[in-house]
């Protein structure tokens, strides 16, 4: 049995960062007025949190490149879609009207 050493490692740092970003998101939810800048900020936080969880909790940062590509793309695409759907809301409503 190997003795585990209690050190502040990448996992601990990731957990702390994720909690801080979540708190900041909640603060924004309670105080900020909606704007494109806020949407961009939130999109950035989604990308950051997703990447952190994928790379360090899921351990994809050195895993199979196909899985890494699809998982990272998912978060890049969706954070872009959140921003674009906000920016072009009227156009989106028009093209999706029956």
């Amino acid at each position: 049995m190997t003795k585990s050493v209690a050190t502040f490692n990448t996992l601990d740092a990731s957990w702390l960062l994720l909690m801080l970003v979540t708190s900041a998101n909640a603060f924004i939810a309670e105080t900020a007025e909606p704007s494109l800048a806020i949407t961009a900020l939130i999109c950035g936080s989604i990308a950051f949190k997703g990447r952190r969880i994928m790379d360090y909790f899921m351990e994809l940062n050195h895993a199979n490149s196909t899985i890494q590509f699809f998982m990272r793309s998912y978060f890049h695409v969706f954070q872009a879609l959140i921003f674009l759907s906000d920016l072009f809301a009227e156009e989106l409503a028009q093209i999706t009207s029956l």
């Binding site: 049995m1 996992l11 989604i46 909790f57 351990e59 959140i82 999706t96």
Partner: protein, 214 residues
Amino acid sequence: MITQTSIETTASTQQFYLNGTGIVNDEPETINKIPGNRAVWVGIFAEMTEFALFFLVYFIAKAHYPEEFNQGPLKLNTLAGMLNTFALISSSYFVAKALAEIRLNNPEKSITWLWRAVFCGGLYLVIKIWEYHWNIDQGITTNTNNFYTVYYYLTFNHLLHVFWASGSLLWAIRQLKFGNYTQQHHIGFTAIACYWHMVDLAWVIIFPLLYVLR
């Protein structure tokens, strides 16, 4: 000579299994490989596709009913959403810790971390049920407007995922107790951990969509 080789092997093994310390790239289990097994990744991508469809519905509904989606988050309980995010992120962290411990050949510590993860999963479910009751007290139901229909659809679907993923964590605890997951053989455990992280990842998008963005 044999002793020297043995010492070197032990040292490198310790390095290999120390996940979370920045030397994960030396770990034979993860480098350029599929974490867990192929089957769980088929499941993960299927679930991610399902959530992707829900997100697309959200974008289209928001474009059609901007006022409902602007006012909707204001009436939701942000504290409940934040606490749920804390619970899920912490549970993911605990699962990663549990995996690190089995790599160090510490099954007992691994089980302890997993119980903490299960507790967080349970906490998430309790908070969510409390939030639904709170919503009903505020007059927020599935039929209130389009925003809340999307809100209930997304969050209840996610709740189900947390429920059965918690069951998979209990299964991992059982396997660890019976010695079926060991330092050398724990692919099933890695697969369960990946699934749990996927559930967390889905919430990372759901939380800002429903509680933060307007």
